[in-house]
């Protein structure tokens, strides 16, 4: 089985004007074979009307030329054929209800679901490709192109029950749209009789981990949603979501984190008791007069039962005495982040849900544990990817977009290695399946660069105007794909032609280390290492004549800038597959172009032959 498609399907619409132009040309210039005769003296004003005034009866040559143009158009549209035999996508429902234990065993529903996935993975054929998604708090890819059981175990270990609204149907819909040819398996605690909304699919299966006789256990979770702070007081809004077997009282506890003798201690400051209905229920609780200078933790417990999630949420509120210089978006606490000020100014730490409401323009933004967000405008966006993949929407063509692998081991930014590189003339290690040769970044500007799971990824925007014959069309397609990925993708890797980042194989130039305290002038910002004893941040927003630079940050343990093995990236990517040249897919467009050339020569030959034979 394979999938066939076009990279630029809209270009097929050009067939309409092509036919129109061809008909016009044949009517205008006549459709006959050019035949030289002695004189037109006796042919003038013959009773038969000239050809272009007659009803259009296309000759064979018309269809021949139409075929040629159609083939060229098909080649331009970029047809591809992928061997996608048996592509299976598993969607694991990790909503909160999956934390409940099954009556029949000691395992939770999620663990049972994981076992189910493992057993089904073991029975897959070797040719099958296996991808794993989770549904909560949003649809996210956990692992793609899983090839081994250990890889699957590592991916499953990252899935925990998470709080979210019921979004399983949305997740199914998105998966079906993005991967219409994949087989879809949903592992959920929904009963098989329940209907999961979404577009129809032939290869679809709902695997339920509960039997109809089983009922839900009690589950409750709380989450701080909005924090508004000013000089004197702050307001906290907590959303409590429950799945109860029967109506019960749920207790919400607010703890303040205080530092006592270099140890963090919790002091309970508020307690709320609320009645919740059986089944799914939720409640918004507003808490006034919260001191914003402390960090807090919230937890919920159901009467008579132990709290399954003792650390529901932790957050930290900064004082805002100084003008806003930057924003950290994180669900982790300030203690965990280990940062209170950057550049000597205070920072805002925002919960992911509140970013949309943030109206100011900070100098920079740091993200952690990325949500699906549209970022506010900022000249610099630094992204700290968490272990799990995330979906990012940024303003296209932001001056600097840096994907950093800097993990937030406290204190954050203590030791940062810093490098900058230019990609002039670099080639890529991965190539999309529809191209035969390695892509080159010749004179392309960098849209985004960074590391993802130990692999360096670079998005290069080729400054090529589409349809320009003197430029590289492959670069144009990549450029458009990168834009699409950066602006609108709901999934990180959403198709064969969309969002394919490629690892840099070579071409990195002038990597060197600098002393940490040195201020690296932009003119020398080719490379460097900055050892930062105090939290600080360096970024570039400049470009030089030699090309645009991207700045990357590494933790001290990760970077080996001087080592040649730096370029030999040890970890395989999960979303990309290295494609050897010998394994490249069948390139239809090249065959189409060759076909056109052959037909063109044939037509010239035939017309020449016919022209000479006309009067002989």
């Amino acid at each position: 089985m394979g999938s066939f498609g076009f990279f630029l399907p809209l270009s097929l619409l050009a067939i309409v004007p092509i036919v129109a132009v061809l008909v016009w040309a044949f009517r205008r210039h006549g459709k006959g074979t050019p035949t030289t005769i002695g004189t037109l003296f006796l042919f003038d004003r013959l009773s038969e009307k000239p050809a272009f005034r007659q009803q259009f009866k296309p000759p064979l040559r018309f269809f021949f030329e139409l075929l040629l143009l159609s083939l060229l158009l098909l080649a331009f549209a970029g047809p591809f054929f992928r061997d996608t035999s048996e592509e299976i996508t598993y969607l694991l429902d990790n909503s909160l209800s999956m934390a409940a234990r099954l009556k029949s065993s000691e395992k939770s529903r999620l663990e049972t679901a994981k076992d189910e996935v493992r057993s089904r993975f073991a029975s897959l054929s070797s040719r099958a490709t296996f991808s794993l998604f989770k549904s909560s708090p949003r649809l996210e890819v956990v692992a793609s192109h899983v090839s081994s059981a250990s890889e699957l175990d590592a991916a499953l270990a990252r899935i925990r029950p998470e709080y979210a609204d019921d979004n399983l149907s949305d997740a199914v819909t998105k998966l079906r749209v993005k991967y219409p040819n994949h087989g879809l398996r949903i592992v959920s605690d929904r009963l098989p009789a329940e209907k999961v909304e979404g577009p129809p699919s032939e290869d679809y299966q709902l695997i339920s981990v509960v039997s109809p006789s089983e009922s839900l256990e009690n589950v409750a979770v709380a989450r701080a949603q909005i924090i508004r702070a000013n000089d004197s007081e702050s307001l906290m809004l907590v959303k409590v979501q429950t799945y109860l077997k029967q109506a019960a009282t749920v207790q919400l506890n607010i703890f303040r984190l205080v530092s006592v003798s270099a140890k963090i201690q919790e002091v309970r400051v508020r307690t709320f008791d609320e009645e919740f209905e059986s089944g799914s229920d939720s409640r918004d609780i507003e808490i006034q007069n919260i001191d914003p200078s402390y960090a807090y933790r919230i937890s919920v417990s159901i009467e008579g039962e132990r709290d399954k999630f003792p650390f529901d949420d932790s957050f930290w509120v900064t004082e805002q005495n100084s003008p806003v210089s930057g924003v950290i978006v994180s669900s982790r606490s300030a203690k965990a982040l280990g940062v209170s000020e950057i550049f000597g100014k205070g920072v805002n730490v925002l919960a992911p849900d509140t970013v949309d409401k943030f109206k100011e323009k900070p100098d920079w933004i740091v993200f952690d544990r990325l949500p699906v967000l549209t970022l506010p405008e900022s000249p610099s966006i630094h992204i700290l990817p968490s272990v799990e993949s995330s979906v990012i929407r940024v303003q296209p063509l932001s001056p600097v977009i840096v994907f950093s692998s800097c993990e937030s081991e406290p204190p954050l930014f203590r030791y940062l290695n810093f490098s900058a590189f230019t990609l002039k003339g670099a080639s890529t290690l991965e190539t999309p399946p529809w191209t035969r040769s390695l892509l080159r970044t010749a004179d392309g500007s960098i849209l985004a660069a960074g590391e993802y799971r130990g692999n360096r990824h670079v998005f290069v925007g080729f400054e090529i105007f589409p349809l320009s014959p003197a430029k590289n069309p492959i670069g144009t397609v990549l450029f458009l794909n990168a834009l699409q990925w950066l602006s609108a993708g709901d999934l990180q890797f959403s198709g064969p032609a969309v969002g394919i980042p490629f690892r840099v194989a070579d071409g990195l130039e002038d990597i060197a280390l600098y002393d940490g305290q040195a201020v690296v002038p932009l003119s020398k910002l080719k490379s460097g290492q900055l050892l930062v004893p105090r939290p600080g941040y360096v970024y570039s927003r400049e470009s030089s004549r030699e090309g645009r630079y991207a700045v990357n940050f590494f933790s001290a343990q990760e970077s080996r800038l001087n080592s040649p093995s730096y370029l030999e990236l040890p970890l395989p990517t999960e979303s990309l597959k290295h494609i050897e040249e010998s394994e490249l897919q069948f390139e239809l467009w090249r065959w189409l172009v060759w076909g056109v050339i052959v037909l063109l020569v044939l037509e010239r030959f035939v017309s020449l032959f016919r022209g000479r034979a006309a009067l002989s």
Binding site: P34, G38, T39, S47, E48, P59, R610
Partner: protein, 297 residues
């Protein structure tokens, strides 16, 4: 230096056959030297003309003594002199004569012109070959000049139609004595132009013969394709055309009418006329058709 060569059809046997032929003028012309045609000039010759009274100083050998015995008066015999005549060969060298590309029409026209020239040389006539608008040969009498004429024609580029029309006047201005004139052309141009062309020839008191050379594709067009874009070889003008049966019949009718008009005009003008199809055998046409028409004897 271009090597001299005659058309392939000019085999030794063909040349020997041509040597037996004579150009035939329908009336006598004054020549410039002794030749094979009866001249208007009286004098020495074989053909008896009339008697004249003997005058003092006449050669006594020319006295008819028999007549003197019967009438006792002295008369001398007078004879018609045999002189050469001027032969002008007007060859149409326009692009239409060279279509189709195989050049068979142009080849036939050249062969006819050279054949007539050779017959003229054998008859000790003065021959001038002219392609109006492009080539104006000098008066030649020697048979060896046939090779040079063939080479000149071989290298002649196509002539523009307008240059051909205007070139006829120049060619006529070069004619000093009346004589025979042959016009070799396809005559596929408007009848008014044909009229004006022959008007100039007749004004020179020439005995004019018209030889029309047509290719088979002009007499019976059979194009390979039905949908045509006809291109005029002389002007480059294009004409899209669907070659249906009705169109073909219409063309044949027009060609027939045009030829009828030409024949009527030539008949009324005293111009001898003959049509040659390019694919026809050269030997057959020269020895049979030209002889039957009275152009050659």
């Amino acid at each position: 230096m271009v090597s001299a060569s005659l058309p392939e059809s000019f085999t030794p046997s063909y040349l020997r056959q041509l040597e037996l032929l004579r150009l035939r003028a329908r009336r006598a012309f004054l020549g410039s030297r002794q030749g094979g045609h009866l001249s208007l000039k009286k004098g020495h010759g074989i053909e008896f003309s009339d008697y004249r009274k003997y005058e003092l100083g006449d050669n006594p050998r020319h006295i008819d003594w028999g007549l003197y015995g019967r009438s006792e008066r002295l008369y001398v015999k007078r004879f018609q002199e045999e002189q050469d005549i001027g032969v002008v060969l007007l060859l149409d060298g326009t692009a239409s004569m060279r279509v189709p590309e195989s050049g068979i029409k142009w080849l036939r026209a050249k062969e006819l012109a050279l054949s007539l020239a050779y017959v003229g040389f054998m008859q000790r006539d003065t021959v001038r070959l002219v392609c109006p608008g492009g080539y104006y040969g000098s008066r030649v009498t020697s048979p060896s000049a046939l090779y040079r004429l063939a080479d000149d024609l071989e290298q002649l580029p196509p002539i523009q139609p307008q240059a051909f029309i205007s070139g006829v006047s120049r060619a006529m201005s070069m004619v000093r004595f009346p004589g025979l004139a042959f016009v070799l052309s396809d005559f596929l141009y408007p009848f008014e132009q044909v009229e004006s062309l022959f008007r100039e020839l007749r004004a020179k008191n020439l005995d004019v013969c018209a030889l029309q050379v047509l290719s088979h594709s002009e007499i019976d067009p059979d194009f390979a394709s039905r949908d045509l874009l006809l291109v005029d070889s002389e002007t480059g003008r294009e004409l899209p055309l669907v070659m249906s049966e009705s169109v073909r019949k219409e063309y044949l009718y027009r060609l027939h009418q045009h030829n009828l008009k030409l024949e009527d005009f030539f008949r009324s003008s005293g111009v001898r006329f003959l049509r040659s199809e390019a694919q026809q055998e050269l030997h057959e046409f020269v020895q049979i058709h030209l002889a039957q028409s009275g152009l050659l004897t």
